[in-house]
Symmetry: C2
Subunit: 332 residues, 2 copies
C-alpha cells in the first residue's frame, strides 16, 4: 500500500464551483487557495478558462500568489480549450472526455476510435506547446463505460508517452470499492503511470472508493471541501482525511490538520450552507458521546469509543449527560 505517497487534488474551485450555491469571487478564490495551501494540499484544480473571462482571470490571480501547491485547470478535449489553458500559465492541464455510451451519445457524439484520435491530437498539441506542463488525461463516466473501451483508450494514450497521469471518474456515483480497486490495479500494472481517482457520492461510496483506489496504487485523489460538486458532490476533503487517519495517522501527518475546521467553515459560509450535523470531523455531533456505556468508556479512556482524536484537529469531545440513556454509569 503506497498510502504515504498520495497527493490531494483539491477541486473546490472546479468541481466545487459546480455545486448549486457555489459562486466564488476572485478574492474568495485566493482566500480558499491560500488556506488549502497552508493545509498542505499538493494540487488545486480550477474551472476552465473557457467557462468565462472571470474564470480565466482567476487562474492568473491564484497563480500570482506563488503558493506551494500546483495549480491545474480542467478542460474539454479540444485544441482550443487546451490552448486557452496553457495560455494562463497554469502548472497542469486536466483533459477529460466521456467514454460511456450515455456520454458518447449525449455529450460529444464521438465513438471510441474518434475519441482516441482526438485525444492523441490534443495531447500531442499540448506537449508540443508546453514540454514541462503536468498533463493528465481522464475518461469521464469510467464506470458506465465498457471495460474493453476503457482499456483501448487508456492503452492507446499511455503508448503515446505524453501524459503524466491517467484519471478515472465515477461521474454519476455508481462504483463499488471492489470495482475501483480492480480498474486502478489494472491501470497501474499495465501503464506504470500515476493514477487519479475522482468519485461522486450519489450512492455513498465516494470516500470508500477513493481509499480503495489508493490501496490499489492510485497516486492522486480528487476532493472538495464538504464534498461540494454536481448533485450531492464528491469525496470530501475532511472525509478523506478521516478515512486515511483511521487507517494510519502517519498517512495524514504532513497536513496541517487543525486548519480543517476553518476550511470547512469558510466554504460553508461562502456558500451559505450549514455544515451537516453528521459531517466528518467537523460536524456538530462528530465527537459527541451519549449512551451511558459510551460515556463511561470515554471518561475512562477516549479511545474506547473514538477512532479519531478531536485534539488532533483542534477540537474537543462532548459527553452528553442527563438523558435517560446516559444513565448512572457515566456520572457516578
Amino acid at each position: 500500500m503506497p498510502l504515504h505517497n498520495f497527493h490531494i487534488i483539491e477541486s473546490t474551485l472546479r468541481e466545487g464551483e459546480q455545486f448549486s450555491t457555489a459562486t466564488f469571487t476572485t478574492a474568495q478564490k485566493i482566500e480558499i487557495a491560500t488556506l488549502l495551501d497552508q493545509f498542505g494540499v499538493e494540487m488545486l484544480e480550477m474551472t476552465s478558462p473557457c467557462a468565462s473571462p472571470r474564470s480565466e482571470a482567476d487562474i492568473r490571480a491564484v497563480l500570482a500568489e506563488n503558493l506551494n501547491l500546483r495549480v491545474l485547470t480542467h478542460v474539454r478535449c479540444t485544441r482550443e480549450d487546451a490552448q486557452r489553458a496553457i495560455d494562463t500559465g497554469v502548472h497542469g492541464v486536466d483533459i477529460v472526455i466521456g467514454t460511456s455510451p450515455q456520454l458518447m451519445t449525449h455529450s460529444h457524439g464521438k465513438d471510441i476510435r474518434q475519441i482516441i484520435d482526438l485525444a492523441a491530437d490534443v495531447l500531442s498539441f499540448v506537449r508540443e506547446q508546453s514540454p514541462d506542463i503536468i498533463l493528465r488525461f481522464s475518461t469521464e463516466d469510467s464506470f458506465r463505460s465498457s471495460e474493453a473501451d476503457l482499456m483501448r483508450v487508456y492503452l492507446a494514450i499511455a503508448d503515446l508517452g505524453l501524459v503524466n497521469r491517467l484519471g478515472i471518474a465515477d461521474t454519476v456515483g455508481v462504483a463499488m470499492p471492489s470495482q475501483v480497486w480492480r480498474l486502478v490495479n489494472q491501470l497501474v500494472r499495465m501503464t506504470g503511470l500515476d493514477i487519479e481517482f475522482h468519485g461522486h457520492n450519489d450512492s455513498g461510496c465516494a470516500i470508500a472508493n477513493a481509499a480503495a483506489a489508493l490501496e490499489a496504487g492510485a497516486t492522486h485523489v480528487d476532493t472538495t471541501v464538504l464534498g461540494l460538486g454536481e448533485r450531492n458532490g464528491i469525496t470530501p476533503l475532511g472525509g478523506l482525511i478521516a478515512r486515511l487517519y483511521t487507517l494510519n495517522r502517519d498517512y495524514v501527518s504532513r497536513y496541517n490538520l487543525p486548519l480543517l475546521p476553518q476550511i470547512d467553515r469558510l466554504i460553508a459560509d461562502i456558500c451559505q450552507l450549514d455544515i451537516p450535523f453528521s459531517n466528518y470531523i467537523t460536524g456538530s455531533s462528530a465527537f459527541t458521546h451519549k449512551a451511558g456505556i459510551h460515556a463511561k468508556g470515554v471518561l475512562a479512556d477516549p479511545e474506547t469509543y473514538e477512532a479519531i482524536n478531536p485534539g488532533d484537529f483542534g477540537l474537543t469531545r462532548e459527553i452528553s449527560i442527563g438523558h435517560h440513556l446516559t444513565g448512572w454509569n457515566a456520572v457516578r
Copy 2:
C-alpha cells in the same frame, strides 16, 4: 450475490436515540415505527427496557400497534437484561458484548473465555424462556478485536445452536469494505447462520461497508434515518437505499420509496436537525445539475448524469441556469 434477500434492521429507535439531540416521545416512536413499517423495513430495533421505565413501556406501545415489522430490543449480555427484554413480549432480542481489547478493559473487564461462558449462559437462558424468540448474538467493536478472538467467540456461539443470527459491529467506524467482506464471508462459510452488519460512519465507509457485507452474504443491515447514532452515526436508511438502487433497482423495489422524503423530514423535524444539503436522495442538492455540459446532457436524457431517478422517490430534478458555468449549451 444474495442481494434480493437482505433485511433492514431499522435502529432509529435504538442507535438513533443515542444521537445527541434525539429524544422521542411515545407518540413519536409510534409515528416513526408506523411510517417505517409502511416503507417496508422488516425489523425495528428499540432501546433496551433497562434504559428507563419509559423505554420499556414504549416497546410495549409499539408492539401493541401490530405492525408488519418485527420488533427487536437490544440488551447487554446479562440474564437480568435478557429477562427484562423477554418480558416486554418483543419478537427478538439482540445481545451484544465487546470483544476488542479496548472494550474488554474499559467496558466489562472480562476476557475471551469469560465472554464465551457468559454468552453461552445468557443465550441458553433466553432460549429456555422463549423457544421462538428471534435471538441474535453480536460482538461489539468487531473490527478492533483480534480475528482469532472473534472466531473463537463466533464458533463457540454457533456451536450452541441457539441463535438465529450473528452480528458484527464496526463500533468506532474504522473498517474498510474489503475487511468487512472477508469477515462476513468467513462467518457465512463457517456458521451458515444469518449475518448482520452494523457500521459507524466516522471514516465515511458505513454505506460501502454495508454493501460489502451484503455482497459477502450478510442477510441483515442496521440503518437509522439520516444515519443518526453515536458521534456522526451509522449507515443511513436513505444512503443504503441509494447504494442498492444504483446496483440494481430491483433490490429495493419492494420498499415504498416515495415515503423516504417524509421519513427523513419527520426525523429531522423531531430532532431539530437540517437535512444535510448533500444527503442521499433527499438532500437539497441531490438532483441539481449546474455545469453547462451536465445541464445539456440531462435535458437530452436525464440518465446522462443521473444514476437515480428522482421520480422514483416522488422528487424532481433541478437544472440550475443563469450561472456562468451553465453556459450556452444548457439554454440554447
